[in-house]
Structures are given as structure tokens and as C-alpha cells.
């Protein structure tokens, strides 16, 4: 379908063909009718944007930092084989074990095998998008290992049998009252009203899990090649408990998480905290280099690092899509996206939602499955403006739209319409004639100065609101006045 070496529509994409196409349009329509969701998003998104803006304007060097971060990531991606090799060597020197996983199934097998071989029964997990991506929890449960999510939001998601809907705020779609009700039902605690009491109840329940666990599983925010260090960033302290208390710690990272030097971390930590939550620094940043050393009384005795490909090398091979691998998962592009703010994270039917999700989900799961996602954008460009690593998301969304069309994934009517539109817009005379005809015809359907209904194939424009009519005098004719 395209002439690119790493075509995103290749059938080898995990899940392609097996899982049905993501119904972004249908999901969005349902989300728009969900008033609770609309209220929650309408409260949260502006507050996230304000916090980020305040934190960013405090740093005069912000734009320079973004440029530096993008350059570090590009350099690392261009030399990824070498940096991953260096990371592997340094992790081994520090006493850790490195595993490589080509896809999700292999990553699941590595982790469940490690647990089974050591007789590990109780897992605590800290929030990790990568473990969501590989669907780790059901695999561990099937292997007879209990899994408890310990990030407060993820714990709620797990108790409710739900999925997270935001990279950094997993239960943004849930009200405090619904969480309180869930805890009463599942934990047998009184029906609390205040978020303080609800949080306290979770702290108590989870403290017991931490003390009893023998396996801790985390993601990785950054992996430093020159020192063999993994970096885990959080606010709650659950990732610290997860990596400190259980006997075995398994961390899983995508191949793109490596950075060359410890010094580079200073750049990325400043960008990540301010972009994601508007903090100057996240509450806890753990730099872990191997397992605990001889004589130390806490920290995991065994440390395993799983390095996962799962479709990322296809992005790496794709010159026009590669920069998506710069992403540090801060969530800033979700928070400014007008489509995310209405549709919510679940509409994307993927671990990764929002603009970055619309770019990388087709890469990880195949364009056949995810081709509606790149169309779920107004191309307003707000995401590119906030991205701390300067990913040009609108350009990539357009690129994917083109590929979806060339792959025949876009309906015939849409394609015919686009062709007709191109034909008309190509020539001023054609536009003038068509506009004159449309102005004449619209008299039949304008009601009170609006167009409440349009015939197919234009009906989508009036499905949720009345469209404005064409002006009686085109802008073109007003020039010079």
C-alpha cells in the first residue's frame, strides 16, 4: 500500500486481523451522551492546562530545553542498537538480568516464567503503560500469581474491572462518589465522602499487600545507558514500595526509553514533571542501579529488566514516523486536545489515547485496526505546541490519513467526496460556480439563519449541531473594501 520499508499496515502487527477495527466515531458519539464523563473531563482538562502553563512560564529556558530533549532522543534513536547494548552491559555489571522480548506474548512469557520458577505468588505493580500494553495482569493471574495494582487510580481501575483512560490520571472518568461506592462494595469500608478518607482506605488496604508481596513489577521512565540505571517517576510512593519491599523486582521498558547519560536525566525530569502535572519535580524519582548490594537491608534481591520491541522497531524504520519514539508519556498532548476533551480516553480503545495514541496505536496494533484514530483530530496543532520533545503530531496524523486512504481503508464515498472537493478547490471559477449553486439551494433548508439538516454525504456536519449557512457575499468579493 505504501512504499515505506516499515509499513504500518503490515499484517504482522500484533492483534491486527484478530481484533476488530477501533470504532472511534461510534465511541465518541457514546462519550458525548455520557454527561458524567463530559462533566469530569470539562473540570479536569482546563485545570491540567492551567497547572502546566504556570509551571512552564516559570522557566525562561523552556523552549531551549525542548529542543535539547528532542536532539538527545533523536541521537539515541539513531544509535539505538549501541545504546541498548551499553545499557545491557551496565545492568549486568550491576548484578541485574536483562531479557529481550520481540512482542507482547514473549514479554508475558518471560515474566510469568520468572514468577513460576521462583514460586512467587503475590505481585504488587506500580502504574505502567507498558504492562497495560502487553496485558500482563491476566497472564500472571492465569499462572496462579495474584496481582495488585498499587497506584491509587490503577487500584480503582482493577477493583472496578475497568481500563485506565488517561496516561497520568487513570480514573479521570470516575467521580469521587463512584470510587467511594466501589470501596464500600469491594473493601467493606464505610461510604466515605472526602477524597482524603477514600485515599486513606486504599493506603491501608495496599500497605498489607506491600508487606506480603514477593514480586514487584514496574515500568521504566528512563533507562540510563552509561550507568545501567532505571529511573521510575511517581508521586504516591507506591513505585518505591514496589521496588523496595518484594524480593524480586521486574521492570519492563520499550526499546525507546534508553537515554545515553546520567546528565541527560536533568533535562528530561524537568520537562516531564512540568508537562504532566505542572510540578517543578515529581515527588519521588528512584534511580535504581541493579539489585540491593551485599549487606543492605532493603531493596529487591533480584533485579530483572525486560526490553520490549512489540512494533516499535517498525516505527524506528519509518523515517516519517520515527519521531513518535521520542515520547516520554507525559500526557500533555491529551490535556490540550479538543477531541480528547470530548471523547475521553476510552474512545481510542487503546492503552495510548489522545494525539500520541492516534499516532502510535496504528503502529503497535496495525493501521487496519486503528485507521479511524488519525482522523479524530482537528489538526489545530495544540499538541505539537506543548509536546516537551517537539513531536510533530499533526504532521504524522496527516501522514497516517494519507496511508489509510492509499491502503483503501477509507470508504468510497469519503474518497469520492475528497476528490470532488479537490476538483472544485483547484480552480477559482469552479469554486465560484459551485458556491453560487450551493447558495441558491441552501434557501430550501435554512431555518432561522442556521442549517439544521444536510443530506448525505454531508449529514455528518449536522448530526450534532446546526451548521452556519454560506454567506450571501463571499469573502473573496469583499477584498479591497
Amino acid at each position: 500500500m505504501t512504499d515505506h520499508p516499515g509499513s504500518l499496515a503490515t499484517a504482522e502487527a500484533s492483534g491486527a486481523g484478530a481484533t476488530p477495527r477501533i470504532d472511534m466515531i461510534g465511541n465518541s458519539e457514546r462519550a458525548l451522551r455520557d454527561q458524567d464523563l463530559q462533566d469530569a473531563l470539562g473540570r479536569a482538562m482546563p485545570s491540567f492546562r492551567r497547572q502546566r502553563a504556570a509551571a512552564v512560564t516559570e522557566l525562561p529556558e523552556w523552549e531551549a530545553l525542548r529542543t535539547t530533549a528532542a536532539a538527545i532522543k533523536d541521537h539515541t534513536l539513531a544509535n539505538l542498537e549501541a545504546y541498548l547494548g551499553l545499557l545491557e552491559a551496565r545492568v549486568r555489571e550491576a548484578g541485574g538480568v536483562v531479557h529481550w522480548a520481540a512482542d507482547a506474548a514473549e514479554a508475558r512469557r518471560i515474566i510469568t516464567d520468572l514468577a513460576r520458577a521462583r514460586g512467587l505468588r503475590r505481585t504488587v505493580k506500580s502504574k505502567s503503560m507498558t504492562t497495560e500494553e502487553i496485558h500482563l495482569n491476566p497472564a500472571l493471574e492465569a499462572a496462579g500469581v495474584k496481582v495488585v495494582e498499587t497506584d491509587l487510580g490503577e487500584y480503582v481501575v482493577q477493583l472496578a474491572g475497568d481500563t485506565p483512560s488517561h496516561i497520568i490520571a487513570p480514573i479521570i472518568h470516575k467521580s469521587a462518589a463512584s470510587v467511594a461506592e466501589l470501596f464500600t462494595r469491594k473493601l467493606g469500608v464505610p461510604l466515605y465522602e472526602r477524597p482524603e478518607d477514600i485515599t486513606r482506605a486504599a493506603r491501608q488496604a495496599l500497605r498489607a499487600e506491600f508487606l506480603a508481596a514477593d514480586l514487584g513489577v514496574t515500568g521504566v521512565n528512563f533507562a540510563i545507558a552509561e550507568t545501567g540505571t532505571i529511573v521510575v517517576v511517581e508521586n504516591e510512593g507506591n513505585a518505591r514500595l514496589t521496588t523496595t519491599r518484594p524480593r524480586v523486582h521486574i521492570a519492563i521498558m520499550g526499546i525507546e526509553k534508553v537515554i545515553p547519560r546520567l546528565a541527560d536525566l536533568g533535562v528530561f525530569l524537568r520537562l516531564l514533571a512540568r508537562s504532566s502535572t505542572g510540578q517543578r519535580a515529581s515527588v519521588y524519582v528512584s534511580l535504581l542501579t541493579g539489585p540491593r548490594r551485599a549487606g543492605e537491608v532493603d531493596g529487591a534481591e533480584e533485579f530483572h529488566l525486560v526490553i520490549l520491541d512489540n512494533g516499535r522497531s517498525r516505527l524506528l524504520a519509518d523515517p516519517r514516523m520515527r519521531e513518535a519514539l521520542r515520547c516520554i508519556r507525559c500526557g500533555a498532548c491529551l490535556n490540550v486536545c479538543p477531541v480528547y476533551e470530548r471523547a475521553g480516553g476510552h474512545a481510542y480503545e487503546s492503552v495510548y489515547s489522545g494525539p500520541i495514541g492516534a499516532v502510535i496505536t496504528p503502529a503497535l496494533e496495525g493501521l487496519e485496526r486503528g485507521h479511524e484514530l488519525p482522523f479524530a483530530s482537528t489538526l489545530c496543532g495544540a499538541c505539537a505546541e506543548v509536546c516537551p520533545v517537539r513531536i510533530d503530531l499533526p504532521r504524522m496524523l496527516l501522514e497516517l490519513r494519507g496511508r489509510a486512504v492509499r491502503a483503501g481503508l477509507v470508504g468510497r464515498v469519503d474518497r469520492l467526496f475528497a476528490r470532488a472537493w479537490t476538483f472544485v478547490m483547484w480552480d477559482p471559477t469552479r469554486l465560484r460556480i459551485v458556491a453560487a449553486v450551493a447558495r441558491a439551494l441552501q434557501r430550501l433548508i435554512v431555518r432561522d439563519g442556521r442549517i439544521p439538516w444536510l443530506p448525505y454525504p454531508l449529514s455528518g456536519w449536522t448530526a450534532h449541531r446546526a451548521a452556519p449557512p454560506l454567506s450571501g457575499r463571499p469573502f473573496r468579493d469583499r477584498r479591497g473594501r
Binding site: 535539547t68 539513531a78 477524597p195 500497605r207 550507568t227 546520567l262 536533568g266
Partner: protein, 229 residues
């Protein structure tokens, strides 16, 4: 096996992008680190300790200023009484010895690093040192070691850190300037544990301490005499 598969895919991807003029390299074992961008130089603040104090207080972190470790040792017991602290987990480092001694004379129970987990979990307070402070973010930097367990600053509901003012760096880039040999865990702590997951309301003490207190040892006379000041 898989290692070779994944690395071969990456190598092929790099070659593909290099061929298309996209700035990929051919791989190999020695990345040209000279191509890495120049990093921002650490900032310079007139009074990093003052900035640390201001920003720590913005986070809800209490800061007490002591003129010496003995001064701090004299004041910690009263602070513990005020907070109804009876059991204290503490790092086994020489610079904290005066504080441990003064807590003992007050009849406060001391839990050493090797105390069983069940006892540690019941401590009312954890006392640690801090290898560095970071002024821009009001961050405490705690390396792990035999005498410096990670759980001391994590399990108890209150964390008290003793930080020497001359160990305050301007910002994170200053902290990460040279790798040296890292401990098994280097923990950066910025304020009390928090979560805003439920109802988007910030709550302190999600899993870690709900209160963080810093005793800043600021020997003004010594600072004035130091060529670094």
C-alpha cells in the same frame, strides 16, 4: 535468540533511515556521543539555601534551621513530643548520632536499620540524612547504603531529614553532572507523598509519608569562612 532478533530489527531500521537520508547511523558498538547536544549549564542562585527553604515551604514541607547538628539534636525531642512520636526508625550514620542520643535520653524508642519489618512498619517517624538538597525544586537526595535503608524515608507517616546547607545544589542538572558510582538506589524526594486520583483532589500521604520535615543545619560562621560560599 530474541536478543539477536530485536537488535537485528533495530539495526535494519537504523540502516533504512540512514539510506533515506534521515540521519540514522549504521549501528555499531560505539555511539558518537560527541554528536549529543550541549546540555544547559546549572543555574546559579545567590542564596540556594534560601530558595530551598522558600520552595520547600510552598510544598508544605516544614523547615527548621539549626546552627549545628548539636543544636538540631537539642530540638528534635521537643518536636517529637509535639507530634506524639514514640518510635523512630533512623539511619545508622555518624552525623545522626547526636540526635539518636538525645532521643534515647527522652525515652523515645529507636529502631535501627536491621530492625524487623513488622516493627519498622509501626514507626511513627523516620529520620534520615540527605546527601544533597536541590534548591530549584526543594528536593532531598537520599543514597541507599548498609546504614541508609530505603524504607526509613518511606514507611513511617512522617519523614524528618537532616540536611547540611552547604550540600544544597542549584538544580537537577548540577546533581547529575557527573555519574560517579551510583548507589543501588538514589532516591529524590520532593515534598510529601501525594495523589490526586480520586476526584482530582490533591491528598497527602497516598503511600509514603504525609508529612516531610527538614532540619537544615546552617552554620553561618563556617559558611562565611568557606571559599565556596
Amino acid at each position: 535468540m530474541t536478543r539477536e532478533t530485536v537488535l537485528a530489527r533495530i539495526k535494519a531500521a537504523q540502516a533504512a533511515v540512514a539510506d533515506s537520508g534521515g540521519g540514522g547511523s549504521q549501528g555499531g558498538q560505539a555511539p558518537a556521543t560527541a554528536e549529543l547536544p550541549v546540555l544547559p549549564v546549572p543555574q546559579s542562585f545567590a542564596d540556594p539555601a534560601a530558595l530551598f527553604i522558600e520552595r520547600a515551604r510552598q510544598l508544605g514541607v516544614g523547615v527548621e534551621i539549626a546552627v549545628s547538628i548539636d543544636d538540631a539534636a537539642g530540638r528534635v525531642p521537643a518536636w517529637c513530643r509535639h507530634k506524639s512520636v514514640h518510635r523512630v526508625a533512623v539511619w545508622d550514620t555518624p552525623d545522626l548520632a547526636p540526635i539518636v542520643a538525645s532521643l534515647r535520653t527522652e525515652g523515645i524508642q529507636i529502631l535501627r536499620p536491621e530492625a524487623p519489618l513488622g516493627e519498622l512498619a509501626t514507626a511513627d517517624l523516620g529520620i534520615t540524612g540527605a546527601a544533597w538538597g536541590v534548591a530549584e525544586t526543594a528536593t532531598l537526595v537520599l543514597p541507599s547504603s548498609l546504614a541508609q535503608p530505603r524504607l526509613t524515608s518511606l514507611l513511617p507517616p512522617i519523614h524528618l531529614a537532616v540536611l547540611s546547607a552547604d550540600r544544597i545544589l542549584p538544580d537537577l542538572p548540577a546533581l547529575f553532572r557527573s555519574p560517579g558510582r551510583l548507589p543501588s538506589a538514589l532516591t529524590l524526594i520532593t515534598g510529601p507523598s501525594r495523589s490526586a486520583d480520586v476526584g482530582l483532589t490533591p491528598v497527602l500521604g497516598a503511600h509514603g509519608p504525609m508529612e516531610v520535615m527538614v532540619f537544615l543545619v546552617r552554620n553561618v560562621a563556617a559558611e562565611a569562612a568557606s571559599p565556596l560560599a
